[in-house]
């Protein structure tokens, strides 16, 4: 099945201050930093937009990996995630160029503000994708199906090069203004691409929290 590419705009998800502090690397925040974060949040909202574009493709786990119609990959880690899925949602989410402009502005006048702005951007785009996933989960659970955790190029053995095929399939520059460079980087920088499996039945034990499904010891672990 080939679905059209859908474009959706969301309202601002609520801000997760703890998550922002975690991105800054502040494990026991002091009052000055918290104040800084709050003042940045107050400034940033007018500069954000919350957009996703997505499409649904048939997918099949094969002996050499996964065939997702728009692309094939040999990634075994993705194959594992998609073991119970027969379709995937391919999604790119972005909070727009405004946050990049703010970060750039503050890089010339206040590095601490730039740092916080960029952490807010990271939190924003993840929260946006969370909102998208929750919506999809509700939709598919309503149909007696479910969704898997989201999986992005660069996770496990899923190559970054898959970005090229994702961008060709979704036509992101046109749909939501996200473009891909030769080195596979997205602009606006606060953008995320992901593959989400649609599984045949409801699986209550899958969490949408990526950290729970990963056993790496990393500094950003929640």
């Amino acid at each position: 099945m080939i679905s059209p590419v859908f474009v959706k705009t969301y309202d601002a998800p609520s801000y997760d201050e703890r998550e922002i502090l975690r991105y800054i690397g502040e494990t026991s925040p002091n009052s000055e930093t918290v104040e800084l974060v709050r003042s940045c949040i107050a400034e940033v909202e007018a500069h954000l937009s919350y957009k996703v574009c997505y499409a649904v493709y048939d997918a099949q786990v094969t002996p050499d990996g996964v065939d997702m119609t728009f692309a094939k990959t040999k990634s075994t880690s993705l194959a594992k995630t998609l073991a119970d899925s027969d379709r995937v949602i391919l999604v790119v989410a972005s909070v727009g160029i405004g946050i990049d402009r703010l970060v750039k502005k503050y890089l010339s006048i206040s590095a601490s503000r730039a740092l916080v702005m960029q952490a807010i951007g990271a939190e924003r785009v993840e929260s946006l994708l969370d909102a998208f996933c929750i919506e999809m989960r509700e939709k598919y659970r309503g149909l007696g199906q479910d969704i898997t955790t989201r999986y992005s190029p660069g996770y496990g053995d899923l190559p970054l090069q898959l970005q090229r095929e994702i961008f060709d399939a979704l036509d992101c520059p046109k749909r939501i203004g996200v473009s891909l460079s030769d080195s596979m980087m997205m602009t606006p920088t606060k953008s995320v691409s992901a593959i989400i499996g649609i599984s045949r039945s409801i699986c209550s034990d899958v969490s949408l929290d990526k950290c729970k499904n990963c056993n790496k010891d990393c500094q950003y672990r929640r």
Partner: protein, 798 residues
């Protein structure tokens, strides 16, 4: 028949969707539709012919994504040729009687331009130009640039078309649901830029269905003096029974578009989801409508990449601070290419309420064209105000105007023939509002009449270049009253006379008070008098409270300030600035015997650090302040960061506070580099566009007194090595965020070893590890900014 002539009397019909029709005929996801021109010419020809039969006057070739990034030059040529052949065959095939033309279709290249992406403006122009040249040489009737959602990329496409042909050019943009382009431009800003560039017709395509698009169309009709295009989608896509359909029927689509034609849209068609049936309905619904006359709007307007500033509503302020004249610190920044300093001058003027920024970076010892281009590009990364390009160097003006994102102001032309002959062609090519000084070969006339005479001559010459009166703003020149007590009155008379001629007028008033005490008082009074004579805009220093007072008071008193909101805002800042200026609360030395300045730095209190440094400078030598106050404070914060009792935000806040202290010291020492340590070259490597980490390292290094040369992001190995060789820097820092750019870091190191064997290389960035650093041959892996500082200290001492 000539298209331009036809448009002036008729509604012009474009075609409808192509992509959705091709998918219906078997185009697979990810397959490039342009290849079907060659593999399935019959299908493409038939679709074009169906559109002609449905009533389209113009079909666009199936070349939306045909560019050199996607195809090599041979395939690109073959695709464009076949696409044009297919469209031409469709004309032959179609039996309907209306006039028919073929447009070369140009879509976006799908890359973000600098300063946010990695493609430069000129590279983008060249990418478009390749497709344009192939199409134009093979033969098309017009060029249609469409679905552009970024103003800068749109400009690149337009420049590419204009530089390679004289064919009619239509440009249409895709808007987001906030009625702006994806990168922020309003319809008014796009109209200003595109009309400035001499585009024949402008408008909107894709985006949404006709009803939602109508709001943006309304804006176009309000501001545009050229025909307006509308080419919306068939509503929104939905899936029904596994099939994609759009939610608007052909009939509804036709009716909605016809409504906009009645409102003044001159050129219409359909985009995603529309078919020949949609075009047929659209033609049926709108055929009988008499085309609404297109009137010239006579607006004086400039734009940035987000918004337009027009001279219709209220007097406009131009900030004059980005200018080295009489500013040693600014000159030093220019000589050291300290772009951040220049940017901060722009940002602070925006915060003070100016509407346009003047940009002058002329200094005899630097390459002005290079610097102006760079500063304009960087400023447009951080400030969304329109810019006024201020230079007497025509080459610099041309380059800055070319890469400017929007419609700029130019400062300036004058009545000398040589000036007009060199400036007007540039303004004509790129579009600009030009400041015209009323002087000529014989100097500045003493009387208002003499200056108006020159103004007439300038208008005459401008019109010969096809530059309209509204794109000229006259500056009748404020003269020094202490040299001639009648001079003030003559300039005011000239303001009034020029306004009565229907021209806009600007002044830089501060010259009037030269040689007299309390100049601000005279300047601001004179400013009010000029405003009363009808002054349209003024170039001024927004830090002058008196000038800003005069401005806000005037606009409030003559009814140009709705609900007095601007005046009230301004008045409230007056109350706070006067108290802050007189009374910055001084911190007391609290912990562990820190001096007050040390405490201010440790706590990251910028204002206090600045004031404390100023008062220390009255009695303590600058170097001693650095060595006994600033450096110990920084070290203390640095150590607690290393011990993980302080985190990055505090480290940076302290660094910023000490930077304020350093600025005060620098002003005192005026260019003396006694506190400088060795040169440190820093860059984010090629292919990588992330620079926050690199900038944090730079800030800390500057704090510790290093002469940091920041080459920016996405920097080629050759540029980095050339700089190291030129400056003989003993240390270079390279940053990379992603695995894909580590090879370019490795290449940089290889080249450095070859050409600059003395230079130590420290690497850092999210993706790097000690193991990686060893593998690519770096001297040092630094896990954070402080680790880089410590390593630099070793090299500097060693």
């Amino acid at each position: 028949m000539d298209i331009r002539g036809y448009i002036s009397n008729n509604i012009v019909y474009l075609d409808g969707g192509m992509g959705t029709l091709l998918q219906g005929r078997g185009l697979r996801p990810g397959e490039l539709p342009e290849r079907w021109n060659i593999s399935h010419p019959d299908i493409i020809t038939q679709i074009h012919a169906d559109y002609f039969d449905a009533g389209s006057n113009i079909v666009s070739t199936n070349t939306f994504g045909a560019n050199i990034l996607k195809y090599d030059i041979d395939e690109l040529t073959q695709i464009v040729h076949s696409a044009i052949d297919n469209a031409r065959s469709a004309i032959a095939l179609s039996t309907s009687p209306q006039p028919k033309w073929v447009a070369l279709d140009i879509g976006p290249i799908g890359r973000m331009l600098k300063p946010y992406g990695e493609v430069s403006f000129d590279e983008a122009v060249e990418i478009f130009a390749k497709t344009v040249r192939i199409g134009v040489e093979y033969g098309v009737d017009l060029v249609f640039v469409e679905t552009m959602n970024d103003s800068y990329e749109t400009k690149a496409a337009v420049v590419a078309v204009k530089e390679n042909c004289d064919l009619p050019l239509f440009v249409s943009n895709a808007y987001s649901d906030d009625d702006k382009l994806m990168t922020g431009a309003t319809p008014e800003a796009m109209v200003a830029m595109l009309e400035g560039l001499g585009v024949d017709a402008i408008g909107v395509n894709c985006s949404y269905g006709p009803t939602k698009t109508a709001k943006v169309i309304e804006e176009y009709l309000r501001y545009a003096s050229v025909p307006v295009i509308m080419k919306p989608n068939a509503g929104l896509p939905t899936v029904v029974g596994g099939e994609t359909i759009f939610d608007l029927s052909a009939e509804d689509f036709g009716r909605e578009v016809a409504r906009c034609v009645e409102a003044g849209v001159r050129i219409c068609g359909g985009c995603c989801g529309t078919t020949p049936e949609y075009v047929r309905r659209m033609v049926e619904c709108s055929e009988g409508i008499k085309p609404k006359a297109i009137c010239h709007k006579n607006r004086t307007v400039v734009s940035s990449y987000t918004h337009a500033v027009s001279l219709e509503d209220k007097p406009i302020l131009i900030g004059e601070r980005i200018n080295p004249t009489g500013k040693p610190r600014f000159k030093e920044a220019l000589r050291n290419a300290d772009i951040d300093y220049i940017l901060s001058e722009g940002i602070s003027q925006q915060d003070k309420g100016v509407h346009i920024l003047d940009v002058n970076v002329g200094l005899p010892e630097i390459d002005e064209a290079d610097m102006l281009e760079r500063v304009v590009s960087e400023l447009q990364g951080v400030v969304d105000l329109p810019l006024q390009i201020d230079t007497s160097n025509v080459l610099a003006m041309a380059r800055a105007l070319r890469i400017y994102n929007g419609k700029a102001m130019l400062n300036s032309v004058n009545g000398k023939q040589e000036s007009m002959d060199s400036i007007f062609p540039l303004a004509k090519k790129y579009g600009a509002v030009i400041i015209a000084l009323t002087l000529d070969e014989s100097g500045i006339p003493a009387t208002a009449e003499g200056r108006v005479e020159i103004a007439r001559k300038i208008l005459d010459n401008a019109s010969r270049w096809g530059i309209a009166k509204e794109d000229i703003v006259f500056d009748p020149l404020a003269m020094t009253v202490s040299a001639d007590s009648g001079a003030g009155v003559q300039t005011l008379r000239a303001v009034r006379m020029l306004r009565d001629m229907g021209c806009h007028v600007s002044l830089g008033v501060s010259n009037v008070s030269f040689g007299l005490p309390n100049r601000d008082l005279l300047n601001s009074t004179y400013f009010t008098m000029a405003l009363q004579e009808g002054l349209s805009m003024a170039i001024l220093n927004p830090n002058s409270i008196d000038m800003m007072r005069a401005y806000y008071a005037y606009t409030a008193l003559v009814g140009l300030d709705d609900n007095f909101s601007r005046y009230v805002d301004f008045a409230s800042t007056l109350a706070t600035t006067s108290t802050v200026a007189t009374k910055v609360e001084m911190p007391k030395a609290k912990d562990e015997g820190d001096t007050p300045l040390q405490y201010a730095i440790i706590k990251g209190l910028k204002d206090q650090a600045g004031s404390l440094t100023e008062s220390l400078l009255e009695s303590v030598p600058p170097l001693e302040i650095v060595n006994s106050h600033i450096i110990p404070a920084l070290d203390k914060v640095g150590q607690s960061f290393e011990k993980k009792t302080t985190y990055l935000p505090q480290l940076l806040m302290s660094a910023e506070a000490s930077q304020v202290a350093f600025e005060k010291i620098k002003c005192k020492m005026s260019g003396d580099n006694a506190i400088s340590k060795c040169t440190f070259v820093i860059a984010t490597v090629e292919g990588d566009i992330h620079d926050i980490g690199k900038n944090i390292v730079k800030l800390l290094l500057q704090n510790y007194g290093y002469n940091v040369i920041d080459l920016g992001k996405n920097v080629s190995p050759t540029t980095i090595v050339d700089t190291v060789v030129d400056t003989h820097a003993p240390i270079v820092g390279l940053s990379a965020l992603m695995t894909t750019t580590v090879p370019s870091m490795q290449e940089t190191i290889r080249l450095l070893r070859d050409r600059a064997p003395w230079c130590k290389v420290v690497v850092g960035g999210a993706v790097l590890t000690q193991e990686y650093a060893d593998k690519i041959g770096a001297d040092k892996y630094a896990k954070d900014a402080m680790a880089t500082v410590r390593y630099a200290e070793q090299i500097n001492e060693g």
